[in-house]
Amino acid sequence: MLEITGLGHAYGAHRVLEGIDLEVGEGELVTIVGPSGCGKSTLLRCLAGLMAPGEGKVVLNGTPVTGVPDDLAVVFQDYSRSLMPWLTVRDNVALPLRRRGLGRSERRAGAAEALASVGLGDAAGKYPWQLSGGMQQRVSIARALAYRPSLLLMDEPFGSVDAQTREDLEDLVLRVHRSEGVTILLVTHDIDESVYLGDRVVVLARDPGRIRAELPVTLPAGRDQIGTRSDPEFVRLRAEVGRLVRGVAADLSEAASR
């Protein structure tokens, strides 16, 4: 459903992205992991149509991405700045539904449903700044889900919440991915997270940002924080991704024989 071919970009003389080729299938959850400064955010902005890449092209559902695609939602890291403080939680979630041409009552119903699906049915009348960070990020996720995008982009969505909340939110993403069947592309700098969430992990290298490796995650679909993280396969994968991220040329055959 998403095809990226030969995508590259430079800010002046500084090349941030080069020769990115990536395909994401319908209903897949792909994580992109890489060191800071590997152009993760630039890549995401290109996919979201917020900026035009210097070279290469992005095709979403058969249509080349030139502006912002109709069928896409983004969850940003900075939830407190991404939610509108003058709107209630309900109105925040309902706002993008204006783009769907829905009436007021339909928008409200959609918002209520999405909020319930992230466990925030009771917070609809509150303002975002009355909620904890984790709850605010849930609201952002609900807003994206209510929009019913075919592709959900997440830009380090759990970068600014505490560890416990992070795990809860990770499981929330896995749950909505399963129940809604939405295709998700999630960018993170957290190696564990990339393996825990992904059906497939794409490792980026920096200077310029390019794809170093793509690893299928062969863990069973039903994942949980304790069991999955102690699974030998999980441990092997995170070690491999870790080596790749740090730029050590991983000897795949050696890793496989262990």
């Binding site: 912002v68 983004v74 509108m84 700044w129």
Partner: protein
């Protein structure tokens, strides 16, 4: 200039009021003693109690009230038109950099001219009454609104704009749904600053224009009669009270409408 100063730490609301009242009482007392002790001629500086008494008297005087109404009409009309002009202009300047650079020089040339200095010119071109008073009020009070709008737009969070853009909202819709509400507290502060300036201009224009109606006219004419100092001062007290009242009402309105602004700024973010 746009940030609301927080009340002094450690002072409760009644404490704040008490201090304010104490300041007024001290000034009142000083003026009373100065007036009664004969340090200055009583007809130049009547004691505060006489001024207050006269001010209350004026509140029941239909002629005086008519003058106040004229001034307030010019004030309200001027402020309304200024807001209607300055906010859209500010939105334009603040969101289209090319326009901003183009008009920068004109703005910087016009801004330092004291609006009061334009009264003779306005009188020459526009005659007298509301039709000369209102344009002056509009001119003077447009600046703070304009600048605060541009400033407020600078302050809009790029992430908030990106969020709506990523949902496919057009630039104009993003301006309307993110930038404008986000800048609204700054714009409101600009309007409050402009409200004081508008009152100064309204009264000032009336004083200097020489004929017509209005609170300023009342003050100016009282100054021309022997022993009119009492009326001049009582009228001035009313001008001050109007200013205070307007500022308080607008300030309270801001706090109520933009509760989210304060909450967010002081929040955990």
């Amino acid at each position: 200039m746009t940030h609301e100063s927080a009340p002094p730490r450690g002072l409760s609301r009644p404490g704040k009021w008490a201090r304010g009242a104490a300041g007024v009482a001290i000034l009142f007392l000083a003026s009373e003693i100065l007036g009664r002790a004969g340090v200055v001629d009583r007809s130049y500086l009547p004691p505060a109690s006489s001024i207050t008494a006269r001010a209350f008297e004026l509140a029941g005087d239909p002629d005086f009230l008519f003058n106040v109404r004229v001034t307030l009409t010019a004030w309200a009309l001027g402020l309304l038109i200024a807001t209607a002009i300055a906010v859209p202009l500010g939105l334009l300047f603040g969101s289209v950099p090319a326009v901003n650079t183009a008009v920068r020089a004109i703005v910087e040339f016009l801004r330092p001219i004291p609006s009061v200095a334009l009264i003779p010119l306005a009188a020459l071109l526009l005659g007298s009454g509301l039709k000369m008073e209102v344009p002056l009020v509009v001119y003077a009070s447009s600046w703070p609104i304009l600048f605060n709008t541009v400033y407020g737009l600078d302050d809009v969070d790029p992430t908030a704009k990106d969020t709506l853009r990523s949902f496919g909202f057009s630039r104009f819709q993003v301006l309307l749904r993110v930038s404008l509400p986000s800048a609204a507290p700054f714009i409101a502060t600009g309007v409050r600053l402009a409200a004081s300036i508008a009152l100064i201009l309204a009264v000032g224009t009336e004083i200097l224009s020489g004929f017509g109606d209005g609170l300023g006219m009342f003050i100016a004419q009282a100054g021309n009669v022997p022993g009119g100092t009492l009326d001049v001062l009582a009228g001035t007290v009313w001008a001050g009270c109007l200013g205070l009242l307007i500022d308080m009402l607008l300030g309270q309105g801001e706090n109520r409408v933009f509760r989210w602004h304060k909450a967010q700024r002081s929040g955990a973010s």
